[in-house]
């Protein structure tokens, strides 16, 4: 088991638990960032996006883990980062509440080193597989039209790739590129069979992680990347 090149943000106010998790993950090659409170976590996330967030629910002062989950739901760039709750609260109400607010999984303290690492690894691989499944949807080149800053751009089927967040709209028929100012960016040429595969990996109306679009010209890729960078 290893975590090479995988980055974590540990949001945990208890120093003892935080330093133990850090040691365990770093021993296996992970890069670990730490926050003792929600506010610090938000500040870190403005500069750096981890591969996974491990979040405690209870804090002595300020916002709690549920507040963070609300914040995550309102912050598009964060929605693609899995958040695993790690809490001593083992009651059904806490677990259901956290999962309903979008937590990827819920682990109960106390920390058992081997079990903790195995579960984190498993959750990470599951999330990665979901993203891989989504990428498969776009393997074949397709063409579509995008309205970008009022200008109609036709995507051709050249071998260029654009990576950006996507959302499945409520009709289930359209994949919409985000950010919002790319509205009108509807990709219509995805056949139902492929759309079905994507739907099984994410919920309707939810934003997904980076997705590879094949068939976008280099110049369009550069333009969109520039806008997405500014948006992030």
């Amino acid at each position: 088991m290893y975590f090479n090149d995988i980055s974590f943000l540990l949001v945990e106010d208890d120093e003892n638990t935080r330093m133990l998790m850090k040691k365990l993950l770093e021993n296996l090659g992970a890069e670990v960032m730490e926050a003792a409170e929600i506010k610090t976590a938000k500040d870190i996330l403005k500069d750096k996006m981890p591969d996974m967030i491990i979040l405690d629910l209870n804090y002595d002062d300020g916002e709690d883990g549920y507040d963070f989950l609300w914040y995550r739901n309102e912050t598009k760039t964060l929605l693609s980062v899995p958040v695993v709750i790690f809490s001593a609260d083992d009651d059904e109400l806490s677990i259901v509440r956290a999962i309903k607010l979008g937590a990827t999984d819920y682990l109960v303290k106390p920390l058992q080193a081997m079990l903790f690492l195995q579960k984190i690894r498993k959750i990470f691989l599951k999330q990665k597989k979901k993203q891989t499944d989504l990428r498969l949807v776009y393997k074949k080149p397709f063409s579509c039209e995008v309205v970008l800053d009022g200008e109609l751009i036709r995507f051709n089927s050249k071998e260029a790739v654009f990576e950006g967040p996507i959302r499945i709209d409520n009709s289930d028929k359209h994949f919409i590129l985000e950010p919002e100012f790319l509205s009108g960016t509807e990709v219509n040429d995805i056949v139902c069979r492929k759309a079905k595969l994507a739907r099984s990996s994410c919920k309707r109306g939810h934003y997904m992680n980076k997705c590879t679009f094949v068939g976008v010209s280099d110049s369009v890729v550069q333009t969109i990347k520039k806008i997405v960078r500014a948006w992030r």
Binding site: D14, N16, N58, D60, A88, K109, P110, L111, A113, M114
Partner: protein, 104 residues
């Protein structure tokens, strides 16, 4: 009460000074909370100890913190205090022995 040996993985030796410092601070705060009948304060500390003591090898402390936390939630303050006196005495007598064992 004689010395109680607590066997702890040598991998944790570098973290132990900070851990012990934090636990001592928690003990001090818990003492105060029980003295002032501050149930909320005591709940917070026992909740924390419930989560962090066992992973470092202090199983008894973790179990006891869970018991205290449950008592406090049920508002059985006296029972929680009784438990606190027992674990406090126990903790005064512990001696750490590092062993070459992987963290479980």
């Amino acid at each position: 009460m004689g010395k109680k040996i607590v066997k702890i993985s040598a991998e944790l030796s570098e973290l132990m000074p900070t851990f012990m410092k934090n636990v001592k601070n928690d003990f001090k705060s818990l003492d105060q909370a029980f003295e002032e009948k501050d149930i909320v304060g005591a709940q917070k500390i026992t909740h924390r100890l419930k989560g962090n003591a066992a992973p470092y090898g202090f199983i008894e402390l973790g179990d006891s913190a869970k018991k205290m936390n449950d008592f406090l939630r049920e508002e059985s303050f006296d029972q929680a205090k009784e438990e606190w006196e027992v674990i406090k005495d126990y903790f005064d007598c512990i001696e750490i022995e590092y062993i070459n064992e992987e963290l479980k």
